[in-house]
């Protein structure tokens, strides 16, 4: 067989391959987006003469000292146990809310010495100036998680979905469904377990 110079490779389809790869990467690459815990700061209230009196049993005090040790309701605790403790406190429903309604959706122990109603239950988080920010966020995350777990439970019970998914749907432009109704439902859930997480100013020493 006679040896000939190799014929030139047809490069016409190269562009197609390139575009195929280009489109593949376009579809699969996600641009890194920052994520984080969204919180609202309290407004600065003008100093009033009669401070609001909150019963001690409706307060869930979380202290974080400068050695990153956690003190919850005067007992030392590990961060991994905090979520459960906060949930038990919020979900207790021992008594009535401000307008005298019982908490009929609470599944807690109904302990009269713990919180009256999720509407009244307040978690306060106090930290030291020298607490590390990493630990502080860890604690903050657990407390927000406690609320989210309870809200998810209620969303499951009422609407057979999760609160997280409802929030995701609200931001989804392609959501197939009634957005106003969804917002209404989100507000209902938020009202069942209102996020009352107060952050006292740090102790200076």
């Amino acid at each position: 067989m006679a040896k000939r110079a190799a014929p030139e490779v047809n490069a016409g389809s190269m562009a197609d391959i390139a575009f195929l790869l280009l489109i593949f990467f376009l579809v699969t690459t996600t641009v890194e987006k920052d994520k984080g815990i969204l919180r609202s700061l309290p407004q600065i209230e003008p100093p009033s003469d009669d401070p609001v009196i909150i019963k001690q049993k409706n307060l869930f005090t979380v202290l974080l000292n400068k050695n990153d040790q956690l003190l919850v309701e005067e007992e030392q605790m590990q961060v991994k146990d905090l979520r459960k403790a906060a949930m038990e406190f919020l979900d207790n429903g021992g008594s009535t809310d401000a307008s005298g309604n019982n908490c009929d959706y609470c599944q807690g122990a109904k302990d009269p010495s713990s919180s009256d109603h999720p509407d009244k239950a307040i978690i306060t988080l106090q930290h030291d100036r020298e607490t590390s920010y990493g630990k502080y966020i860890e604690v903050q995350n657990e407390l927000v998680a406690a609320y989210n777990v309870l809200r998810n439970r209620e969303a499951k019970r009422l609407y057979n979905t999760t609160f997280t998914k409802m929030l995701a749907d609200k931001d989804d432009v392609y959501y197939q469904g009634d957005v106003d109704k969804l917002k209404e439902r989100i507000d209902v859930i938020k009202k069942l377990f209102p996020l009352k997480l107060s952050e006292a100013e740090p102790k200076s020493n």
């Binding site: 562009a15 690459t29 920052d34 984080g36 919180r39 030291d128």
Partner: protein, 154 residues
Amino acid sequence: MGKFSKKKGGELPPVSTASLPDIVFMLLFFFMVATVMRDTSLMIENRLPSADQIEKIEKDRSMFIYAGKPSAQYKNFGTEARLQINDKFASIENVQPAVQEARAGLRPELQDRLVVALKVDENTNAGLVSDVKQKLREINALKIMYITNVKKVE
């Protein structure tokens, strides 16, 4: 014998370079898409804490405040954690003007929805962060977001 001499004379055809532009364009597009534009260069250490109860940030209505220890090349600023706003070190007094400025730069309908994103190194003292939060409360910039990494759920 003639066959051999023919082979010696025949040279390999040059490799076609017609597809080279395609490859280059492909790479260009890929990097255009995959690269995150960094609008500020960090002058501080910034190892973010991790959390799992997180939401996405909405870039069109947020401004960033960084905090952490000055990084190795800015050693002369000491080892105490500092704030960084835009491209320079800032003190706690600079927070309010910077936030006002950021708010004024937003579209009118978003101005009261400004989110201040705090990118703080996890080894910073939380006291610095609460100073910033106090300053933000004073000018009624109440929505904040603690930027974190995504914690993997075991």
